[in-house]
C-alpha cells in the first residue's frame, strides 16, 4: 500500500528539499495524483516549474525517473540544472555520449535517479532491455505536444512511445506540456494509450505579458523597428528568427548599429559556444539574444522582459511557448511580433520541408520494397522508411501526410488571425485553446493604431550599462583561481 502524503508533509518536503514555501499553481495536484499512482497529463503554463514535479516525485518514490525529451541540448540543460541543484545521480543518454560510456551507463542504471533519453534512444533494444531490468518510479514525456506535432512527419519514433511504455511495464506516466489544444491532448493520451490519465489543465494565459504586433511595410522598416524596440524597451530580450543565417546577420547588424551586448544562438554553434552564450545571458552579461527556436526550452531566467518574433512562429502554440520565456518573475513583460505581409510564406516554405506528395510516398515505398536495408539519404526518406519498417500502408501514410499539411495550414491561418485581428489579441489567443478571455484592459494587448505603451507598462529602458574595458589575462586568471582576488 503506497504511503498517503498529506499536503502539509508535501509542503515540508518542498521547503526542505528545494527551499520553497509554496507550490506553484498546478504543481501540487499533479504531484498528489502521481503519488496516488495515477497517470497524469499536465498542461501547465510556461514558467510554472514543470520539472520540479518529476524531481519531487523522483525523490519520494523508489526507482528511476525516465524523462523522454526531444532535444539533446534540452537534455543537457536539464542534466546541468539538476547538477546545479546538487543532484548527482542524473545522466542523459544521447548520441553524443561515446559508446563505452553509454554501455557503462546502461550497466549502472540502478545507481541513477534521473535518466534523460530521446524517443529514438529509448527505442533501442539495449536501452529498452536495461530499463526493463530497472524499477521505474516515473516515466515523463516532456514537451508531450511533440507526440502530436512532430510525430507524423518529422520524428516518427514519437508515435512509438505508447508501445515502448507498454514494453516498460506501463509505468506511472506524466505527460508534460505548456500548450496543448484539445486535439493535441487527445493525440497525446490516445497515442500513449493512457485513456484514464487525469488531466490537469491550467490556463495558457500569462497576464503579465503584454501582447503586441507591429505591422510593417518592408524588411528595412522591420529592422528599424527592431532596433527602436531594443533600444527603448528594457531588456533582457530574446529575438526569434526562423533561420540561422538571419540570426547571425541581425546580430552583426545590431552590434554595429547599437551599443547593446548582443549574441547569436542557434544549432550551428558548437556545444561550447552555446553553453557560453546561455550562461552569459543567465549572468546578465548580454542584453539581447538573437536565436532560432533552439534557444529557450531549457532556459530558466526569470527577468526576461521582452520576446520579439522577427519571423512568424509556426503555430500559436509555439508562440505561447516562446513568449512564455518572458516575465517568469511575474513582473511586466512584452511580446512583439514584427510582421510584413507575405511573411507567412516563410512558414509555408518551412512546412513544405516536411511535406511529401502521394507519388513521392509511393516511390519511397517501392524503393523500400526493392531494397529494405538501403541507406537513406534525406530526412524525408528517413521518416517514410520508419513508417514502412512499422508496416504502414501507402494509403495510410498518404492520408496522414495530407492531414498533417492541412492541419499546419489551419494553424498558420489561426496565427495570421492573431496577427491581423482588430480586436483583443488575448481573447483570440485564448479562444484558440478554448479558454475564456478576461476583460480587455490597457495592459492586455495592443489594438491596431495604438502605440506600444512602454512607459505605462514600466518597461522604458534605462541607460546602457557602461562596460569596463576588458582586463589583461593576469587579473582575469587571478580572479578565476585565487580566493579573495
Amino acid at each position: 500500500m503506497p504511503k498517503t502524503w498529506t499536503k502539509a508533509e508535501l509542503r515540508q518536503l518542498l521547503k526542505r528539499k528545494y527551499g520553497f514555501d509554496q507550490f506553484r499553481p498546478g504543481q501540487l495536484p499533479v504531484i498528489q495524483d502521481l503519488l496516488a499512482g495515477q497517470d497524469v497529463l499536465a498542461v501547465l503554463p510556461t514558467g510554472t516549474g514543470k520539472s520540479l514535479i518529476y524531481q519531487f516525485v523522483g525523490t519520494v518514490l523508489p526507482g528511476i525517473v525516465v524523462v523522454v525529451s526531444p532535444l539533446i541540448s534540452l537534455m543537457q540543460d536539464q542534466v546541468a540544472r539538476l547538477n546545479y541543484q546538487g543532484e548527482k545521480a542524473v545522466a542523459a543518454l544521447t548520441s553524443q555520449v561515446d559508446y563505452g560510456a553509454r554501455l557503462r551507463l546502461l550497466g549502472q542504471l540502478n545507481r541513477l535517479k534521473f535518466l534523460f533519453v530521446s524517443p529514438e534512444m529509448l527505442g533501442q533494444p539495449a536501452v529498452l532491455s536495461a530499463l526493463r531490468a530497472t524499477p521505474i518510479s516515473l516515466l515523463v514525456i516532456d514537451e508531450a505536444h511533440c507526440i502530436s506535432t512532430w510525430g507524423p512527419d518529422f520524428r516518427p519514433d514519437y508515435r512509438d512511445l505508447g508501445h515502448l511504455r507498454h514494453q516498460l511495464g506501463d509505468p506511472r506516466t506524466l505527460m508534460l506540456t505548456a500548450t496543448a489544444t484539445e486535439q493535441v491532448q487527445h493525440d497525446i493520451v490516445s497515442l500513449l494509450a493512457v485513456p484514464t490519465a487525469h488531466r490537469v489543465i491550467y490556463s495558457v494565459d500569462r497576464p503579465n505579458i503584454y501582447l503586441s504586433v507591429a505591422q510593417l511595410e518592408s524588411e528595412a522598416a522591420k529592422r528599424e523597428r527592431l532596433r527602436q524596440l531594443l533600444t527603448t524597451v528594457t531588456g533582457p530580450s530574446i529575438v526569434y528568427f526562423s533561420s540561422k543565417r538571419q540570426t547571425e546577420l541581425i546580430t552583426d547588424w545590431l552590434q554595429t548599429e547599437t551599443t547593446l551586448r548582443v549574441a547569436a544562438y542557434h544549432a550551428g554553434l558548437t556545444a561550447e559556444d552555446r553553453y557560453k552564450v546561455q550562461q552569459q545571458f543567465m549572468a546578465g552579461d548580454l542584453d539581447v539574444i538573437c536565436a532560432t527556436s533552439a534557444f529557450g526550452m531549457g532556459i530558466n531566467k526569470g527577468d526576461i522582459r521582452m520576446v520579439i518574433h522577427y519571423h512568424l512562429p509556426t503555430t500559436l502554440a509555439d508562440y505561447v511557448q516562446e513568449i512564455g520565456r518572458a516575465g517568469r518573475d511575474g513582473q511586466q513583460a512584452v511580446a512583439v511580433i514584427l510582421y510584413v505581409p507575405g511573411d507567412e510564406n516563410l512558414v509555408r516554405n518551412l512546412n513544405a520541408l516536411t511535406a511529401a506528395t502521394p507519388s513521392e510516398i509511393e516511390q519511397s515505398y517501392q524503393r523500400y520494397q526493392a531494397q529494405p536495408n538501403r541507406t537513406v539519404d534525406s530526412e524525408m526518406e528517413r521518416v517514410l522508411t520508419a513508417y514502412w519498417q512499422r508496416g504502414a500502408t501507402v494509403a495510410a501514410v498518404t492520408t496522414q501526410f495530407a492531414n498533417r499539411q492541412l492541419a499546419k495550414e489551419r494553424e498558420l491561418q489561426s496565427l495570421l488571425q492573431y496577427v491581423t485581428t482588430k480586436d483583443c489579441r488575448r481573447a483570440l489567443l485564448l479562444a484558440h485553446f478554448k479558454e475564456q478571455a478576461p476583460q480587455h484592459t490597457a495592459s492586455c494587448c495592443q489594438l491596431p493604431g495604438e502605440p506600444l505603451p512602454v512607459k505605462a507598462l514600466g518597461l522604458d529602458r534605462a541607460q546602457d550599462v557602461k562596460l569596463a574595458p576588458p582586463s589583461g589575462w593576469e587579473p582575469t586568471l587571478a580572479k578565476l583561481f585565487l580566493p579573495n582576488s
Binding site: 537534455m75 543537457q76 542534466v79 546541468a80 540544472r81 547538477n83 546545479y84 541543484q85 546538487g86 545522466a91 542523459a92 553524443q96 555520449v97 561515446d98 563505452g100 560510456a101 557503462r104 551507463l105 552590434q255 549574441a263 547569436a264 554553434l269 558548437t270 556545444a271 561550447e272 559556444d273 553553453y275 557560453k276 552564450v277 550562461q279 552569459q280 543567465m282 549572468a283 552579461d285 576588458p470 589583461g472 589575462w473 593576469e474 582575469t476 586568471l477 587571478a478 580572479k479 578565476l480 583561481f481 585565487l482 580566493p483
Partner: protein
Amino acid sequence: MFTDYVLLMFTTAPRRAKAVFNVLRGRRTVSTLFAGLTYGCLDLLDGWHGVALDRFLVAADQLVKDELLTAPREGYLQLTPAGVRRQRELRQTRYWPTAWREFQTADVRRFTQVSRLALQVGSEAVHGQSRYYPVTTNPSIQIRVKKWFRPWAASELGPALYASLHAFLASLTVAQAEVFVRSLTGFEHPGQTDQQLATEQKRLPVEMLVMRKDLMCQWVRWLKAHPQDPLWPLLAPLVKTSAVSKSAQQTYAAFLQHGTLSEIATVRHLKLSTVREHLLEVAILTADFPFARLLSDAQCAQLATIFAADPNIADWQFSTAQAQAPDLDFFEFRLYQIMRCQHA
C-alpha cells in the same frame, strides 16, 4: 573564412585535393599519410578532425570559382597567379598553427573537454561554489574530473592551478594568453565565444577556432614537459607513446627483432600486405626508420638513376620504375620514395 585555410594548403604544383583534405581530417591510410609526407603537411594531420569531406570540397569549389585555385586534371588542384597573391596576403594575416603535431601523440580533443571541466570545478571550488552549471554533462568526463579533484583541498588547488597556468601562459604572446584565459569557464566567468574573441582580437571566428586548438596543443606540449603539474594526471592517460597506430607499432617491434616480413605475418596473424602497410606507416611517421634493412644499395642506386631528372617525388610513377627494374615491387618503390622524402 574556412576557405582561407583551404587555400593555404595548396601550391603552384598540383596536389591531390582529397588526399590533402583527408590528411587534415585525420584519415590514416598509408596513401593519405604518404600524401601528407610528400606535400609537407603531416604536421597538420587530424587538425580538422570531424569536418566533413563535403565541407572541404565545397570550399575548394568556391576557390576554383573565385579563380584562386585551378584544376589541371581531375582531382588535382593548384594555385592560380591570383591564388598565389591571395595566399601571400593570408600568410601575413591569418593565424597559423604551430603545435598541431600534438594531435598525433595525444588525445587533445578529449583533454580539451576534461580540462575545461577541471578548470571550472577548480575555479568554482576556490570561491566556495557548489551550485553551477557544469560545462559538460558527459558522464565519463565528469567521473574523470571527480577522481582528479577529490584529493585536493580547494585552498591548495586554486593557487596551484593559478601558478601552473601562469607559468604556461607566460610562455605565449599576450594575445594568445588573453584568448586562452578569456575563453575559460569558471567562477562568475562564463567565458567568451569564438565570435566574441574574434571581435576583440580583430580576427575571424575561424582563426579563433584554429588558435584555440593550437593553444590547447601548445598546452599539451608544455604539460608533457612538466609532469609535476597538477593538471598532468588528467593528460597522462591521453598521451600516446608514438604517432604510429598500436598495431603498426607491434609489427615494427617484431621487425626490429629481425623477423622476416613473412614470419611477422605468421606470428601476428596478419596478411603480408598488412605487414607492409604497417611498416610504411612507421617509415612515414618516424624519423629513424632502418630503410637499409629493406632496400639494398643496388636498388637505391637504380631508383636514384631512374628518377634523377625528376625532383618531384610525389609524381614518380611505379610503372616508370618497373619498366627498368622488373623485380622491384610496389612496397620497395614506396619505401624508397618515403626514404627520399625523409632524407631530402
